[in-house]
Amino acid sequence: MGIIDKLNKDFESRVRLGIMSVLMVNDWVDFTEMKTLLNITDGNLASHSSALEKAAYIEVKKEFVGKKPKTSYQVTDLGRAAFKEHLSYLEKLMKS
């Protein structure tokens, strides 16, 4: 059962899966939109997104719109490849 070990540990949480899924099919997505899409709290999103950033799977952009800070996320090439691999393992697992 080597295939289970190959599943990416970084994607174990539902929230991280959600963040990656949203970013796979969108360009930059901002904090508020991500939060409403996934239906999670600020703190929850912040901690999971920083974990993904640490793994270099997503890029985080912080800027000011007027006086308000705005955080946006984008998937990196590495993240895209890792997520695709994770998906194909999941699909293989389903078939076996």
Binding site: L17, M20, V25, T36, L37, L38, L93, M94
Partner: protein, 204 residues
């Protein structure tokens, strides 16, 4: 374990769908847009009658300036009422299913829908301006069909079938000038109602 992976995959699929497509569009919006068009179309038929023309009998109709402006405003009223019904049912559905409304998918959908519609609107205004009244109804159907096909990527992709139907109907009606009102009622009234009911059942 298998259960979890299956749920993971379902979650991924639903998140991709939710974030990239505008799925708060309710079938009821289509039904009520269709009803607005149907009532408006019947009213226009009566309007011709009260102006001494039987739409189905007289081949040559006289369009007085008064009648043209009245037809124009009826069209605007139908458009606004269909639009308001659309907004109402969208808000209702998104509240019920806890879906965000104003997302980037919504904006993309509206932009892609609006582009052919605005060009078509200007095209129709030019037709009226030059007095080619017979071409207005076919043109509205054609541009509306193109708009729906264009917006298909950002909402339920079933909407393209409605788009193709409107487009084909519009193209046919180009060759039956003088029956524009009938094609218009068929396209904007009946097709909307049928599509709305099908969608309502499918995505309830």
């Amino acid at each position: 374990m298998n259960q979890k992976h299956q749920e993971d995959l379902a979650h991924i699929r639903s998140m991709m769908e939710r974030s990239s497509r505008f799925i708060s569009l309710s079938g009821l919006s289509g039904v009520f847009a269709g009803l607005s068009a149907l009532i408006g179309g019947i009213y226009v038929y009566q309007l011709f009658k009260s102006n001494g023309m039987d739409y189905l009998q007289d081949e040559h109709r006289l369009y007085s300036a008064n009648l043209v402006s009245e037809l124009f405003w009826i069209g605007i009223i139908i458009l606004i009422s269909a639009f308001l019904f659309g907004i109402f049912f969208t808000i209702r559905k998104s509240k019920k299913y806890n879906l965000p409304i104003w997302t980037s998918a919504t904006k993309k959908m509206l932009f892609n829908l609006a582009l052919p519609l605005i060009a078509g609107g200007i095209f129709c205004l030019a037709l009226i301006y030059h007095g080619y009244f017979g071409l207005v109804a076919p043109s509205t159907l054609i541009f509306y069909g193109l708009a729906l096909i264009n917006a298909e990527k950002y909402t339920f992709s079933d909407i393209k079938y409605l788009g193709f139907s409107e487009l084909i109907l519009g193209c046919i009606s180009l060759f039956y000038i003088g029956y524009g009102l009938l094609f218009w009622i068929l396209g904007f009234g009946i097709l909307h109602i049928v599509y709305g009911l099908v969608m309502f059942k499918k995505y309830k």
